[in-house]
Symmetry: C2
Subunit: 243 residues, 2 copies
């Protein structure tokens, strides 16, 4: 009995690792959020497909578990990396009382990595990844992390910077960070990586404020004290002294 | 004139994305550290290969630039992700005075992601990646970041935890973190991901001290206050309340 929780990367087939592709091909049942299942549609022909819309995370895990307990080989697909704000954690939690089900995480390219590549090389040195969604985390803990990451001069990558209802947390983040790095700090954001409408923008930390271009599909990058623009690319040097 | 800085993932072909594979196949010259060039040997037949041993980073970038300026399509290969402690940053730095050379980063699976997958799902929520190498970063800044990541209850992923000469920084890290999280905190480490001799070990924070198993090829994961062991897997819950 096995469930492979498979990260398919940011978009189309271009980012799908051979390991992830094989996990989907070898499965009998494919579970996932509707959009992600559609992204791998060419690999799932003839297979049983179980999908649910957004926010059905626990339900999807229960469906995957049920199929695995019936003896089906299950591929549970997620965008990006299954292990970074992905479904690998919750799948292990839901299957806690079923140690007979082998749960394997198959990593994929997470938005921090694919987004950084579009912008240049902002994550070359120590960095922190923080989600600004307070759906599952108290806002004060999120902002405490922002503050500490600022104090430590970490490059910061923000997931879920905004949602339709929650639009002010990114501005709060910039306000907190402005105590530790100037508003001219080089930053960037990316949207729809590897999909139609892909956008990557290099800007300053000031430009992140009141920015209506940034939404729930955006990943935001905030440089540290060493991050610079080189020929339009956002680059954090690693510190090679002889360059 | 173009240079693609290509992350090939942790090991063999299993982690190489189609995008990365194509970048190597379409290149005329392949540059990289000897071991990484060997990992993609089946893609480079008939191409000009330029490799140097460890610590020749700047030299490799200069070789890549020289070839690009001659009009050659260059693939500069790195293990993991080219943008996470990879060569994408330094390549942009070295080519700073040549805006006519287009430098593109091709992301790959970094050890934080591939290692986390082997251990279960430790990086499901906010995390910090810190390198313990002081070759290019002052030790006090490294340890300040460790402290702040501890204070912020970030899950922590450590790159370069030790080298032959530098063996005590991981113990220092544990000592600092023990002020913020108990020595019983679930942790793990991985070695040689996707290669011969692959190892993944789940342990406690205490077990990371005086640990002769951990070396420069190891990636270390330190759980936060919510990380738990579920059927032998290291899992950080995202906070779904109804599980």
């Amino acid at each position: 009995m096995e469930i492979k929780v498979v990260g398919i990367g940011p978009g189309g087939a271009d980012f799908l690792t051979p390991q992830a592709k094989r996990a989907i091909e070898e499965s009998q049942v494919v579970v996932g959020y509707t959009l992600y299942v559609e992204l791998v549609a060419d690999l799932t022909e003839g297979k049983k497909i179980l999908s649910t819309p957004m926010k059905g995370e626990v339900q999807r895990c229960e469906m995957a578990l049920e199929e695995a307990l019936k003896g089906q080989k299950v591929a549970f697909v997620c965008s990006g990396d299954a292990g970074v704000y992905g479904m690998a954690g919750i799948m292990n939690q839901v299957a806690k009382n079923h140690p007979e089900v082998k749960i394997e995480t198959i990593s994929g390219i997470t938005a921090a990595c694919s987004g950084a590549a579009l912008l240049g090389a902002p994550l070359i040195h120590d960095f922190a990844i923080i989600s600004l969604s307070d759906l599952l985390t108290p806002l004060d803990l999120i902002m405490k992390r922002v503050k500490l990451a600022g104090e430590g001069d970490f490059v910061i990558c923000l997931y879920n910077p905004k949602s339709k209802k929650r639009t002010e947390y990114l501005d709060m983040t910039v306000d907190i960070l402005s105590k530790y790095r100037p508003l001219t700090t080089p930053c960037g954001y990316v949207k729809h990586i590897g999909r139609e409408g892909e956008i990557s923008v290099v800007c300053t930390m000031q430009d992140l404020k009141n920015n209506s271009d940034i939404d729930m599909f955006t990943t935001v990058f905030i440089g540290n004290s060493t991050t610079e623009l080189i020929n339009g690319k956002l680059v954090t040097p690693r510190g090679y002294k002889n360059v």
